[in-house]
């Protein structure tokens, strides 16, 4: 897991011992696997990989370049890039302080609060979108004041798409950064304090650099989740070409009318996801 990556090197000896002991135990555990397991495992793997094969089999490789340079495709890709980067940035700015409080402050109801923070991870995105609509929509709980006082309308706007993506991406950032903060050896912060560092200097020069691997992993996960967001975006922000029609929405819409463009865009999303997995391989899944 990623907490190995953010574990300080001097905590190494004890960590190394338990890890290698664990590995030795696993290597010794050579009890045979029942043969039906192999059969079912093979079916499961095929089930997971088959859609990718199906997708790649349909890709019109020769016209891929021209399909992706159509207006629908370029505007959807540009919008997706802008929205997902904004969503990841907002998730970092607002998620890191929340992760900090959850990791470092003990208060009654903390576990309930943590469960609520993680809810968007399991909540159907459409439900999230409906919730956002009644909270931040023009007649929503907060949205009506945004509209009345500041003339801000989030529905059917690019800002709305960013908000929807941020909503589903935040838990990934929070859970990753919180774990990194919990697994960090806090004595480094004490050492910094004895050297004259104020709490803010400790945060900036010791804590943040030491949890950086976790922060990078969390940001990448949040960004990937934002990039693929569909349900909350279409429910809350709508499907307005050039404003809220991000790549997943365009794929869905174009699958009927321009399947070759939809497939091209799907391939781009697939390639990006594989790239994120490769980036996180060491940090999130452990090497090998």
């Amino acid at each position: 897991m990623h907490d190995d990556a953010s574990r300080p090197p001097s905590a190494g000896p004890s960590g190394t011992v338990t890890r290698s002991a664990h590995r030795a135990h696993r290597a010794r555990g050579t009890r045979p696997v029942p043969w039906p397991w192999f059969a079912v495992a093979g079916i499961t793997f095929a089930f997971l990989v088959l859609p990718l094969v199906g997708l790649l089999g349909q890709v019109p490789w020769s016209t891929l370049g021209s399909d992706l340079s159509t207006t629908e495709a370029t505007s959807a890709l540009r919008l997706s890039l802008v929205c997902s980067v904004w969503a990841a940035a907002l998730a970092v700015c607002f998620g890191v302080p929340l992760a900090w409080v959850l990791a470092r402050v003990e208060f009654p109801g903390r576990s309930v609060l943590r469960a609520l923070v993680l809810l968007p991870m399991v909540l159907p995105p459409v439900v999230g979108g409906v919730g956002l609509f009644y909270a931040l929509g023009r007649d929503g709980l907060v949205g009506r004041y945004l509209y009345e006082w500041f003339d801000i309308q989030l529905t059917f706007s690019t800002a709305g798409a960013v908000i929807a993506e941020t909503f589903v991406a935040l838990p990934f950032l929070v859970i990753t950064v919180e774990a990194a903060l919990r697994s960090m050896d806090r004595r480094y912060e004490e050492a910094a304090a004895t050297l004259g560092a104020t709490p803010w200097t400790v945060t900036r020069r010791v804590t943040l650099p030491m949890i950086l691997p976790g922060l990078v992993a969390g940001t990448a996960l949040a960004w990937a989740r934002a990039l693929g967001e569909f349900g909350a975006t279409i429910t809350f922000a709508g499907n307005v070409a050039g404003r809220t029609q991000t790549t997943p929405l365009a794929v869905y819409l174009l699958l009927e009318s321009r399947p070759e463009v939809a497939i091209g865009l799907s391939v781009v999303l697939l390639a990006v996801c594989i790239g994120v997995l490769a980036l996180l391989r060491d940090r999130w899944f452990g090497v090998g």
Binding site: P9, S10, E190, A191, T194, L195, G196, M210
Partner: protein, 349 residues
């Protein structure tokens, strides 16, 4: 009195109530078993654990009075060398040493200049750009000490300064550290469970057991008159001063010892009574130090017996009551004493 402290605090099952005084320029070792409260005392002095009662006064300033005053660690003139050194893994050796000065508002270039000087003083300027993981144990210790001293603290705290080192680096660092500490202008407090480290590094010992001070004094005073079995076990070691010429140490009290590490000049040799074996006849074998002696004192210590012998070198040996009976030793008996060179710790005095 430069440091005057009465530390009272409870953490978990530990109930600490310890008085600690030290003069400027003095090294005091807080010696005791694991769980005695040594590290907690050190954390209280550093400001990392607030006192429940008592006080900490450093150079006339009250840092903690157990009630209203508790100066934050970043505002105390205290440097700490932590047990596993805790160099910031993401910063170079230079930036680690410069960290304190930068935190206290010095410019980056000033801090770096001072850090370069500090590293050069301990012979490490060539690893200034290395990350801590690339440093050896001994280098890490020196960088940690340079980092703690960079802000010129009035009080230097060392938590088990040698415990993280392997046996070979330990002997070298122990020698160097003594010289480095004597050059530090403020008060030095070190915490250790190792009587050899305490003997090598400290001017005065404070022995702590179960959160209470059980005895204080110089190493020689305490080892001559241990007030409890526990203290006797801990510091009841042989301490002999002399002059080293290579691996031979001519003792001030007469006689000589062969030791494993070659040094020169005035040294102290330390070895545990357990390392001294007693024999009815002249033993042959690996021990480099074999001498004919006479029993001058026998003292029962729990399930062991301490036997004082006088010969070319005055020694204390520790044997079992069974061995004593088998050798039929009484005061005045002739006996052979043997001691391996590798069991003797040597440090400059």
């Amino acid at each position: 009195m430069s440091l005057d402290a009465h530390l009272e605090l409870r953490i978990g099952t530990l109930d600490l109530d310890v008085e600690l005084q030290a003069e400027t320029g003095e090294t005091v070792a807080v010696l005791g078993p694991n769980g005695a409260g040594k590290t907690t005392a050190l954390r209280a002095l550093a400001g990392l654990a607030p006192l429940d009662a008592g006080y900490i006064r450093l150079a006339g300033e009250t840092l903690d009075d157990g009630a209203t005053i508790n100066v934050a660690p970043e505002r105390r003139s205290v440097g700490v060398v932590f047990q596993d050194y805790l160099l910031f893994p993401h910063l170079s050796a230079l930036d680690n040493v410069a960290f304190g000065l930068r935190s206290r508002g010095h410019s980056r270039s000033d801090a770096h200049r001072a850090a370069h000087l500090a590293l050069a003083r301990v012979g490490l300027d060539e690893v200034a750009d290395a990350k801590p993981r690339a440093l050896s144990g001994g280098q890490t210790q020196r960088v940690a000490l340079a980092r703690a001293l960079a802000t010129e603290p009035a009080l230097l705290l060392l938590d088990e300064p040698l415990a993280a080192l392997d046996q070979r680096a330990r002997a070298t660092v122990r020698r160097e550290l003594r010289q480095q500490l004597s050059a530090v202008p403020g008060v030095r407090i070190l915490v250790t469970h190792d009587p050899f480290d305490a003997a090598a590094l400290a001017d005065r010992l404070v022995i702590v057991e179960g959160g209470r001070v059980v005895q204080t004094g110089s190493f020689a005073e305490i080892s001559a008159r241990p007030r409890s079995t526990y203290v006797a076990e801990l510091v009841g070691v042989n301490l002999l001063r002399g002059t080293a010429v290579g691996t031979r140490v001519d003792l001030d009290a007469g006689g000589a010892l062969v030791v494993a590490t070659a040094t020169s000049g005035a040294v102290s040799t330390v070895f545990h009574p357990r390392a001294v074996s007693l024999h009815a006849g002249e033993p042959s074998g690996s021990p480099r130090n074999v001498m004919a002696a006479r029993v001058v004192g026998i003292e029962r210590l729990g399930d062991r017996v301490r036997v004082q012998v006088a010969g070319p070198v005055p020694l204390v040996a520790e044997v079992t009551p069974a061995a004593l009976a088998e050798l039929a030793l009484v005061e005045g008996s002739p006996v052979w004493a043997a001691l391996k060179a590798t069991d003797i710790t040597v440090f400059p005095s």
